[in-house]
Amino acid sequence: MTEILCRTKDLKITFPHRLGDFTAVHGFDMEVRRGEIVGLIGESGAGKSTIGNAIMGLLSHPGKVSGGRIDLEGENLIDLSDAAMARLRGRRIGMIFQDPMTSLNPLMTVGDQLAESIALLRDLPMSEARKMAADRLDGVGIPDAASRMGQYPHEFSGGMRQRVVIALAMAGDPDLLIADEPTTALDVSVQKQVLDLIRSICVERSLGVILVTHDMGVIAETADRVYVMRHGKLVETGPTAQVIHTPTEQYTQDLIAAIPSIERREDRFRNPAQKTGEIDQWLLQGHKDESSGDYVTASALTKDFATRKKSFWGKAGTFRAVDIPGLSIKRGEVLGLVGESGSGKSTLGRMMTGLVLPTSGNVRYDDHGPLADVRSRARRKALRRDVQVVFQDPYSSLNGRMRVDHILAEPIRFHGLAARSDIPRLVGALLERVGLPAAAGRKFPHQFSGGQRQRICIARALSVRPRFLLCDEPTSALDVSIQADMLALLMELRRSLGLTMLFVSHDLAVVRQVSDRVAVMKQGKIVECREAEALYDSPENDYTRMLLATAPRATGH
């Protein structure tokens, strides 16, 4: 089928603003045919969702299409009235969003929502709509669909919810489906199933699909053709394989190069320029002689959380989030910790750094002895000076009400690491060390981009001259290109300062790039823990194998 279903021509989308209009999309051309999946890729803010929303006629306020056209089988959607556009939604064009958790009305049963859509879109009586709804649920692979109809969204798992969302979007049998990051919120294994579902629906119903994503891996595995966007402009387009393997534009090349590979360890993260200055000397000050033994050792560690009562009668139970026999990290080593969401990675990491006290078992530090003993104020203070954390979300990990220089000066002052008069200079030097201008200290966190904020977080962690750094998904909120910079910075710091690191991530590719050793977690247990290269090349555990197999890879990822 080569018939063009939907075409945008010279599409221009503007968000008027009092300080000058912001044009989110400049002259974008795209074609979608029946039965094909078109990938739309680009870094965050490139304008991908904006295009999807524009086709749906659901641009968020105050956005408007300021030029060009959107044709759906020859009809220009831009000329349509609101009412006409509303009739198209669901019937001709369907859309699904990133997060299946929030896309469903939590107060209505799944069956009601689906039957409602079907009844309205097809003018069917409710009873028939319900029957059809059950069929549809069955069609997207929900087992035991009839009895599942009466359940509420919260009773479904993430993957099932996303299937329900797809069934809902397909309720009116639209010709075009726009999927805006449909799997970003899902685990890799579930992600694969959902993508497969979209793929099969597309083929079965000869549907046109626009798949919006920032994940090259998803595109590589799913899309037939791909459009690469940057700053609202089309950069490059072509069949997926061609764009990925032989990109013509510099931007696309950079983008693809920045993707960490799950297949191999790449050199660009490990050979940074050597920068040793005064600040490094300060950072290295006051540490004991380095021994080469284990810096931190956990033994028979468990952590229980109280669960909520199941009912009025039930008793509060406990839920074991972590249960490991032992784990140790050598001085100067980077231990990668991978596993699905909820497997206990963060909890384990926090126990290893003493931020969370274990329910049983103990953590020992070479420098400070067992964690259990560190409850005294003075010893805890000493531990806090040596152990630091960098978090996933650069937005919530900085106090928005404090200026950056304050954020950085506070730990130095609190631990008395420098004379008061030296602190401003040190703060400036720290900022420069992580690649920011010293003047950045005068600003507030919200005045920085995500990547810059993450640098501030790292600077804050460094400001107490730590020996051990927990990085809890430090790059997963960042775009690939920024992610690469970040990883390079971390590796460089690790090398020049001899940091010991626990690197937590669900992104297997990223972990491969930075880790000496990797531990794989599943439901609170460590299923495999070995040298990184060995583990990736020849996984021994089934679960590890499954994880590695389902991870989408572009050239990697």
């Binding site: 750094t353 152990v387 900085l398 609190f414 631990h415």
Partner: protein, 300 residues
């Protein structure tokens, strides 16, 4: 002109004339009332300067008026305009003072409950619940009544304003405790707090220096609304005979006294103070609404 303004705050503010007017009114009222002795043409609370023979004079533009009294005089011969300014001072003092007290108690309780959770939270919230079972007006009524009855009358008369502040303030803290607790629970889970722990900062520092500034927004909004509510509550208590003393009436007490004259044609003793109270309260409400919207950019 507007396009030039880079700061969102000023832009949003200048785009909302209603808010500007309200804010200006609040500022003017606060200045006018605070410096009532300077602005008021008479000193209505000084019996030596008022004459019973001047009583019940209509506003200056009406027949039989005395030009000395722009808005007329009341039954005591007090200049209504001056009484309004002095009374407004008391109302504002009570409103702001009571809310300040509520904020202090509510923030303390809310922060402790929200930050520590567990038993602390359970106990504090039970206490709040008991308190909440009694609507503010009832608490203020009881509290005020009790003190009025148990303190010697002269002490009470001296202390009427502080007591009013105490009564209304004590009645209002729960609302603050609730929102502060909710915000504190959210903030506690934020990574920046964990980062503070990682640095080893003491809990008090974390709560005071890091969490508190982050929850001030909603507190500010609620405070503005509560000032309005407190002013009205004070007026209502005056209606029930528990407000400020006759000799130093607040705006609410003036209205209460004046409302008895509604049928007798001496309308100016109730209408003018009534308008002033209404304008004051509405202005606080409108500014609070705007701040709320401003703090929630999604609603802009």
């Amino acid at each position: 002109m507007l396009e030039r303004i880079r700061s969102d705050f000023w832009y949003e503010l200048l785009n909302s004339p209603v808010t500007i007017i309200s804010a200006v009114i609040i500022v003017l009222m606060i200045i006018g009332c605070t410096f009532a002795p300077v602005f008021a043409p008479h000193t209505p609370f000084d019996p030596a300067t008022i004459s019973i023979m001047d009583n019940n004079m209509p506003p200056a533009w009406q027949d039989g008026a005395d030009p000395r009294f722009l808005l007329g005089t009341d039954l005591q011969g007090r200049d209504v305009l001056s009484a309004m300014l002095y009374g407004g001072r008391i109302s504002l003092l009570v409103g702001i003072g009571a809310v300040a007290l509520s904020v202090v108690i509510g923030m303390t309780v809310g922060l402790l409950a929200g930050y520590f959770g567990g038993m602390t939270d359970a106990v504090l919230m039970r206490v709040a619940e008991i308190q909440f079972a009694f609507p503010p007006i009832l608490i203020a009524l009881l509290f005020n009544g009790i003190l009025k009855a148990s303190l010697p009358a002269d002490v009470f008369a001296q202390a009427a304003v502080p007591i009013m502040i105490l009564a209304i303030g004590l009645a209002g803290w729960v609302q603050f405790a609730r929102i502060v607790r909710a915000s504190a629970m959210v903030q506690r889970g934020q990574d920046y707090v964990t980062a503070c722990h990682a640095i080893g900062l003491p809990t008090a520092t974390i709560i005071l220096r890091h969490i508190t500034p982050n929850i001030l927004g909603p507190v500010l909004v609620l405070a503005m609304l509560q000032i309005a509510v407190a002013i009205v509550t004070e007026a209502t208590l005056s209606f029930l005979g528990l407000g400020t003393p006759l000799t130093e009436p607040s705006l609410g007490a003036l209205i209460q006294i004046g409302s008895q004259y509604l049928f007798s044609g001496i309308w100016w003793v109730v209408i003018f103070p009534g308008i002033m109270l209404l304008v004051m309260v509405v202005a606080f409400n409108l500014v609070a609404d705007w701040v709320r919207d401003y703090l929630n950019p999604r609603l802009r």
